[in-house]
């Protein structure tokens, strides 16, 4: 059952998921009993390769690695303009030389962590690639839900927001479905892809979605930085149509539904301010659980063997950087 990399949820088996969630439980217990460090990854190095800035995920991985006694190195790429696949390969070659054991990578291009994984013997963990996957987020979401519903089969999770660009929606919905949870999407027509898996219900208005009786309402972050293309007229309208307004929060409280959000929250857009004090908001639980889940993942993966002999990328004749379309 040993795996070198964690690239996606889609290829994980149910037993692997159960195992990881169980391990996360153990790690969480350990740390609520005041242990701060265990030597599981002593002498190992974890490299953080974040091409997209993310304080939350980044520090969560960092804390997880340090609690396992690993040495953490940050490769500062978030602010460099060097984000194309070609230059990433150059970076990978450097990393090979550094003999790192784990690489935690986040990148705006879907599939890029997979490309890295094929070129290195280090264990690669996908910390979010484009609109593809964010597996540790999905694991921490499932873990958080299981804390409330130890047997989540038949429970219903409504995911609201920008599905089109959301790796969280993809990974979390895939994982929840593997655990027997029902999933539905709701969002602006321009942000919910026409082709979603048949197993996921799609609602076009909030009231109908509520009538489906979800147990958890999962709000996705509105990517404000993506608003160079207009997917909806403005955030006020978004909040009114797809957000948790004060009135909707009252209904949610009445029904006793849980609220989740991958963070960071745009206050007044996805959620009204009052949600921050809502007793069934699981948003801080998600953050907290992220650390144990990521420890479980790091502990589980097995970096593989010798470094492969491969033709040096740098030594290869550099192809023209201009790309010509067919």
């Amino acid at each position: 059952m040993a795996r070198k990399d964690l690239l996606d949820i889609a290829s994980l088996h149910r037993e692997e998921i159960e195992f990881l969630l169980d391990q996360s439980t153990s790690f969480k217990k350990l740390f609520t009993h005041s242990v701060k460090k265990i030597p599981a990854l002593e002498g190992k190095s974890v490299l953080m390769l974040f091409y997209e800035a993310s304080t939350r995920t980044h520090s969560s991985f960092e804390v997880a690695a340090k609690r396992l006694s690993a040495e953490v190195t940050n490769f500062d790429v978030a602010h460099s303009s060097i984000t194309k696949g070609e230059s990433v390969r150059e970076t990978i070659e450097t990393l090979q030389a550094m003999r790192t054991d784990y690489i935690v990578v986040r990148h705006g291009h879907s599939g890029l962590p997979g490309m890295i994984a094929r070129q290195t013997t280090a264990s690669v963990i996908n910390a979010g690639d484009g609109a593809h996957e964010h597996p540790t987020q999905a694991l921490l979401d499932a873990f958080t839900i299981k804390e409330k519903f130890p047997d989540p089969r038949g429970k219903k999770v409504l995911i609201i927001g920008d599905i089109l660009h959301s790796r969280v929606a993809r990974s979390t919905s895939t994982l929840l479905q593997k655990l027997g949870v029902e999933v539905a999407y709701l969002g602006p027509g321009s942000l919910v892809p026409k082709y979603i898996p048949e197993s996921i219900r799609r609602f076009t208005d909030y009231e109908a979605a509520m009538a489906w009786s979800p147990d958890v309402v999962y709000l996705l972050r509105v990517q404000m930085e993506r608003q160079d293309v207009q997917f909806f007229p403005n955030v006020r309208e978004y909040h009114r149509v797809y957000g948790i307004t004060n009135a909707r929060l009252a209904e949610i409280r009445d029904r006793g539904l849980y609220i989740m959000h991958p963070g960071p929250v745009n206050r007044g857009v996805e959620l009204c301010d009052a949600v921050m004090d809502y007793e069934r908001s699981l948003i801080t639980n998600q953050v907290e659980n992220g650390i144990s889940v990521r420890m479980a993942v790091l502990d589980w993966l097995t970096p593989g063997g010798d470094f492969p002999r491969q033709e040096s990328y740098v030594a290869q004749q550099r192809a023209s950087s201009t790309v010509i379309m067919p």
Partner: protein, 425 residues
């Protein structure tokens, strides 16, 4: 002198193969018939069981020279063609510099004469540097024999510019080849919008991005009285749009389909395999089925590969960073046989018509048929043998093809052009 004994001759006019001997003297087919006498000094080839057909002609290839010789050169590109049984090609003008002037075209044609063993023709740009703004040096290129104008790789986005070009160039007997894609809809990623684009988390290009321009360019051609040739159609509705316009009969439209669009779907991309990244993108099985129907019916006049070489280095990037395009010349004929002729989806007559005769007619060239009096321009195809498309087998400088390391039924054994045997296996 060459005598091919007991060959089974394919032609565009008959689904039945004619078994006969063929005598080639001084590069011309002198006699066809049963049991021809062996002339003194003739080389005899036993072609029993093998199919003899005219050399194929590919009206859509990218040879990347000038400017991208690391991907392909006229020499390696034309050798890849010969390797696949193709004896004539039309280059696309999206080189660097782009082929938008008489000078640029003259250079390429001179080069081709020196560096290719088969005729290499070229198309010219519609607009200067393919920018879609100013008209290219159209008449200057025509004087050098350019017939096809295209900004292939991109659509000529401004319809007013294209209409003016059509009005102007039609007077010179030239025609337009259209790469159909609304760039604002298609986005930069060559992946069909569908189940797969959701799964891979890449914004897909909807088929309508292609279909809109197919319709637009035919309407423009109708308004200008021009001939428009629709390139590499990938969608069902695209095919049906062309079918509808052809049935009206009041505009001259021809169209092509590429082998890969007949054989693969977006499902083949699997785990971001960049060898399936092309533009227009691979779509669904329903699209493949419709394209095949259109090919058999004649909505598509010809098959063309859109041979688009890229270095392994470029293709080994992640899906979004890798360039669009796959090679096709080494593999086209064998893959058509393997996927369609052998399983009896269509016959050799269709292959000869759509991949040899019609593309030559499109370009105003004499058709190469295996007939008495014609120049010898033909190939022998072994239907029982197999071809494994290893890197060593491929003659293209790049091997960005889904067929890499696949073994398919069929083999091109012998390619003859005039007095020369270009290939013998």
């Amino acid at each position: 002198m060459l005598l091919l004994q007991n060959a089974r001759i394919a032609s565009e006019n008959s689904p039945v193969l004619l078994e006969a001997d063929v005598l080639i003297v001084e590069g011309k087919i002198q006699d066809i018939g049963p049991n021809l006498a062996i002339p003194e000094g003739a080389r005899v080839i036993d072609a029993r069981g093998r199919v003899l057909m005219p050399g194929m002609f590919d009206a859509h290839v990218h040879f990347r020279a000038p400017g991208f010789e690391n991907k392909e050169t006229i020499t390696t590109g034309s050798e890849a063609a010969i390797n696949g049984g193709i004896t004539g090609v039309v280059m696309m003008p999206n080189t660097r510099p782009a082929l938008d002037s008489a000078t640029a075209v003259a250079t390429v044609l001179e080069n081709a004469k020196l560096r290719s063993r088969i005729p290499v023709y070229t198309s010219g740009c519609v607009t200067k540097n393919r920018e879609g703004k100013e008209l290219a040096e159209i008449e200057g290129m025509r004087e050098l024999g350019v017939k096809m104008l295209t900004d292939d790789g991109d659509t000529t986005n401004d319809p007013a510019v294209l209409l003016r070009a059509m009005q102007y160039a039609t007077e010179f007997g030239m025609f337009f080849a259209s790469h159909c894609e609304v760039p604002e809809l298609a986005g930069p990623r060559a992946l069909n919008e569908g189940v797969m684009s959701y799964r891979l988390g890449i914004k897909g290009s909807p088929a309508c991005a292609e279909e809109i321009i197919i319709d637009r360019d035919i309407r423009l051609a109708r308004a200008a009285g021009a001939h428009v040739h629709i390139q590499h159609v990938s969608s069902k509705l695209g095919m049906e749009t062309i079918r509808w316009w052809k049935s009206r009969g009041d505009v001259k439209v021809t169209a092509e389909v590429a082998p890969h669009h007949l054989m693969f779907t977006d499902e083949h991309i699997g785990d971001y395999d960049t060898n399936y990244k092309m533009n227009p993108p691979l779509r669904t099985q329903a699209d493949c089925d419709a394209l095949l129907e259109g090919l058999v019916e004649g909505v598509f006049d010809l098959i063309a590969t859109d041979h688009a070489p890229h270095t392994p280095f470029e293709k080994a990037q992640d899906f979004l960073s890798a360039p669009n395009g796959i090679t096709g010349l080494d593999t086209a004929l064998v893959s058509l046989y393997h996927h369609f002729v052998e399983p009896k989806k269509f016959g050799w007559d269709l292959v000869v018509k759509r991949y040899s005769a019609e593309p030559r007619r499109l370009m105003g060239l004499p058709v190469a048929a295996v007939e008495v009096g014609q120049q010898a321009e033909c190939l022998l195809f072994d239907t029982e043998a197999e071809t494994t498309f290893t890197r060593e087998f491929m003659k293209s400088k790049s091997q960005n093809t889904p067929f890499l390391d696949q073994t398919l039924k069929g083999r091109v054994d012998l390619v003859i052009l005039g007095t020369e045997i270009l290939l013998e296996r």
